[in-house]
């Protein structure tokens, strides 16, 4: 959880263009689709599902949105086997045992209701967002939901639909101000319709080369113009090759940062080979790119 200190930015977003301008202030160049979907999600009070290839800026969009709104970001990273105990809430088993022991030693009788009270409840990210009592609801980022199991999606339905969490022993906690929810998915598996139905959906495309240049200019100010434009072309060409993990925006940024740290001002074969690890992340892909390197370099230079 990383509360933002940006107090000036805590203004509501008034239109899709406003979203775009405010994202721009935070160095995120949003296109019309993303700004429309973010604005509608906020105004309609619906969760936003962002899908796209890895590295197109889904998580970054959520992070920027939180800082634009000046609200805390609560991030829930999904993984296989993620369960209610880690995401929603858990009972503090040790404290319950201790309470039983203490009661026994004092000769008191404990009922079940005493043991399953809010006192013994450990809040996990989702419940924490629902019970948040500040003026501005936090932003709950459910990252890479496709990596969690089907069962976990079902657990999220209540909070996505009604903004509430039900603890069977206590009752239902309903958020006073429902949290802003952003879900991201790499589409490694298909999400259930029930989950999709409750969300607004936006598919993020890999940006076109001109946009990549604009983003690189913003994020790596040290790099010169030639390097940025040929690197953007190069990454675009690598994406077109038959690679397992096509490089995303994040890879492009890292690569240009690496090239400019090495003092490169244009793409030279030696420098590219030395820094290729920033663009392609598997041995097979590296071989594929090296095999077609001359053609790709030639095209990028022209």
């Amino acid at each position: 959880m990383s509360p933002s200190n940006d107090e000036d930015a805590a203004l509501p977003l008034t239109s899709a263009d406003d979203v775009r301008a405010r994202f721009d202030e935070h160095d995120y160049l949003a296109d019309q689709g993303l700004s429309t979907s973010v604005f509608l999600a906020l105004r309609l009070g619906m969760p936003l599902l962002l899908e796209g290839e890895p590295g197109v800026g889904k998580t970054a969009a959520a992070r920027v949105l939180a800082s634009c709104l000046g609200v805390p970001l609560v991030r829930l990273q999904c993984y296989e086997g993620l369960s209610a105990a880690e995401a929603l809430y858990e009972w503090n088993y040790q404290r319950q045992l201790l309470a039983i022991r203490l009661a026994e030693s004092h000769g008191e009788r404990l009922t079940e209701a005493d043991l399953f009270s809010e006192e013994y409840l450990i809040e996990r990210p989702v419940l924490r967002c629902v019970r948040y009592d500040g003026p501005n609801p936090p932003l709950l980022l459910v990252d890479e939901i496709d990596r969690a199991d089907d069962a976990f999606e079902a657990l999220l339905l209540e909070v996505l639909g009604e903004g509430s969490v039900t603890v069977p022993e206590i009752g239902t906690f309903t958020a006073v101000h429902p949290p802003i929810v952003v879900l991201t998915s790499n589409r490694s598996r298909d999400l259930h319709d029930a989950l999709r139905r409750r969300c607004l959906y936006h598919w993020l495309e890999y940006p076109e080369p001109e946009r990549v240049c604009a983003i690189l200019r913003r994020t790596v100010p040290a790099a010169n113009e030639d390097l940025i434009s040929s690197a953007a072309q190069f990454v675009g060409r690598v994406r077109a090759l038959e690679v397992d993990k096509p490089p995303g925006m994040a890879e492009a940024i890292n690569w240009v940062a690496a090239l400019s740290a090495l003092g490169a001002t244009e793409l030279m074969r030696e420098t590219v080979v030395a820094t290729l690890g920033a663009v392609v992340k598997t041995v097979d892909d590296r071989e594929t790119v090296l095999a077609g390197l001359d053609a790709v370099l030639h095209d990028s230079a022209s």
């Binding site: 239109s15 899709a16 019309q32 979907s37 509608l40 589409r187 319709d193 607004l200």
Partner: protein, 263 residues
């Protein structure tokens, strides 16, 4: 003087619910999955963010109606035909019946269309319009050596193309199409007249027994209510014997469809 924002909208005076329902329905018919709640979301979105341009409308619709990436292609196509293309003409006939367009199942244009004969430039197919109601354009002035005469090239329809394919190469969809075709063809099976007769309004002979029985109501006056009878027609009997053993495996699916159609 600046124009107030509400006057800049694209959909001033449009029933948002009707628009959302109609477009959602089009999307469904084109094969996209659109939950009803999505249409409600669209209504709300159009209220919150009144579109000033077609772009704005596109994004509001796409964000609310499309829920999965494969549907995006269908959405783009339907949106383009509905809002960008000249699909709905101004003439009333086209509005009422729609233009015979690509909506139900757009076929890939080009290679399967029959090509009219005559002299033809290579790029003429694209500009010659509808081949079935405009005469093929013939041009005589261009006498270049590589300008060849084309004979009418009649290409088979999708169904007759199957005649050349052997049954074991049929995929599930083609088999289902064959089954449907057989079902439609069965009512045309010839019938034979039997010696039995049955009462019927359009029979050619007078049914004596029924007429007499009916005349009881009129004091045995039969002329007021003559009944007619007709010969019973029964379909010609047919016995199908099908070999579905392993050696005939490739044919068995098609044969079973045939038997199902006659059952």
């Amino acid at each position: 003087m600046t124009v107030p924002a509400e006057y800049l909208t694209l959909l001033r005076g449009v029933d948002r619910a009707a628009l959302a329902a109609a477009f959602g329905d089009r999307l469904r018919r084109a094969g996209g999955s659109v939950p009803t709640t999505a249409m409600a979301d669209l209504c709300e979105a159009l209220g919150v963010l009144p579109p000033a341009r077609v772009d704005d409308l596109y994004w509001s619709m796409r964000v609310t109606l499309v829920r999965r990436q494969p549907d995006l292609e269908i959405f783009d196509r339907v949106f383009a035909t509905a809002f960008l293309g000249p699909e709905q003409g101004i003439d009333l006939h086209a509005r009422r019946h729609g233009v015979p367009g690509p909506e139900p199942a757009p076929l890939p244009p080009g290679p399967l269309a029959s090509v009219p004969g005559g002299r033809r430039r290579p790029d003429e197919a694209a500009e010659s319009g509808l081949p079935w109601n405009t005469l093929p354009r013939t041009t005589a002035e261009q006498e270049t050596p590589d300008d060849t005469m084309l004979l009418p090239e009649l290409l088979p329809s999708a169904l007759s193309g199957h005649a050349e394919t052997s049954f074991d190469e049929f995929d599930d969809e083609q088999l289902a199409a064959l089954g449907r075709w057989l079902e439609r063809a069965t009512p045309r099976w010839p019938v034979r007249k039997s010696r039995r007769v049955r009462a019927g309004r359009r029979g050619e002979r007078i049914a004596l027994r029924q007429s007499i029985a009916a005349s009881r109501r009129t004091g045995w006056e039969p002329l007021l209510d003559l009944r007619r009878q007709r010969r019973v027609e029964s379909p010609r009997s047919l016995t199908l014997v099908t070999d579905v053993s392993a050696s005939m495996q490739s044919y068995s699916a098609a044969y079973l469809h045939l038997m199902r159609a006659f059952a």
